[in-house]
Amino acid sequence: MAHCPDYRRHIEAYADGELDPARSESVRRHLAECDDCRRRLEALSSLASILRDLPVPAPPANLAGRIGAQARRRFGQPPAGMPVDGLAVTLRWWRQSVWAARLAAATLLVAVCLAGAYSGIRLHDFLANTSPPADFASGQPDPRQIQLDTYTNTFSFLPQGSPAKDYLALLGERE
């Protein structure tokens, strides 16, 4: 059988429930036989008990309200109904997102930019290389105007002043 010092260093962990089941059982058997170690355990239990019973006043009734008010003063909040700044929301989303979501968003953004640039180049080339109908009086529609109208309609959802709208307007004026 192990001597007391071998067990004594485990008694606190035993009292705190930190021993694995095998060691805990071993300490429990030793305690049944050893008065010194049992007294040590009782002293620990007594200390734990008076520590637990140490009274603490309840938190001030308005503590949560004061913290909330300080939070609003320090960090502010847009008034109800006011749209939150889109750039701020985007930046916050970026900070909070996992890297995979960031990568997907960045890839999508690059793909949209490349597709837009490619479409613009195609449109520009088409308008530059296509001749208008020789005889306007024939009533033949101008293929360049048809193409331009198609693009203008496609991007009709864009707000006035966006680069794509400006570009199409510029091409239209040139034609």
């Binding site: 705190d16 930190e18 200390l47 009274p55 503590l63 960090f75």
Partner: protein, 177 residues
């Protein structure tokens, strides 16, 4: 549906201060108990609780729900308590344990009882990290691993702090009884 603490903190990080209010309502008691038991002064405890929640709010946009909110809260409150004791001391309960209080100490964390008075005094004499380990173990019932995580130390160090704290406290109580 009741949101979890972690979901509330994510909402808080998106600027939802109502979610923050709910977190404060749920956990102000825990933060208060730790700070008040550690510091022994409700006025100082109130400062710590406010500072802890405002720190959590400021860091909310960077929060990743990988650990439970409560673990995070223990960590923030513990560090603030230890930092508070490292600051140059103004008048505090710890420095003036025998300060007379004409109102019968209504604000004291201690509420009567010679044994409790001695215990409070013994606690105040402990080094801050030992006292905090005792508070986290006996009042919040944290495991050694949780204490270690909250205090930013190893599990072995947490166990050792607890052992030294209990020994010192028992010796103090025996010497004064």
């Amino acid at each position: 549906m009741r949101l979890t603490d972690e979901q509330l903190l994510v909402h808080t990080g998106s600027g939802d201060l109502d979610a923050f209010d709910e977190l404060v309502r749920r956990h102000q008691g825990t933060a208060w108990n730790i700070a008040c038991r550690f510091l022994g002064s409700p006025a100082e405890a109130e400062d710590i609780v406010q500072e802890a929640f405002l720190k959590i709010l400021a860091a909310a946009p960077r929060y990743r729900p990988s650990a439970s909110f409560k673990t995070y809260l223990y960590c923030v409150v513990s560090r603030l308590c230890l930092d508070f004791r490292r600051r140059p001391k103004s008048e505090s309960y710890e420095e003036a344990p025998d300060r007379p209080d004409p109102a019968g100490a209504p604000d004291d964390c201690l509420a009567g009882g010679e044994r409790q008075r001695r215990l409070r005094e013994g606690l105040d004499r402990l080094p801050a990290n030992q006292r905090l380990a005792l508070v986290l173990r006996h009042h919040e019932e944290l495991s050694y691993a949780e204490i270690a995580s909250a205090m930013g130390i190893s599990v072995k160090a947490a166990e050792s702090l607890l052992a030294r704290a209990r020994r010192a406290l028992q010796e103090f109580i025996e010497s004064t009884s």
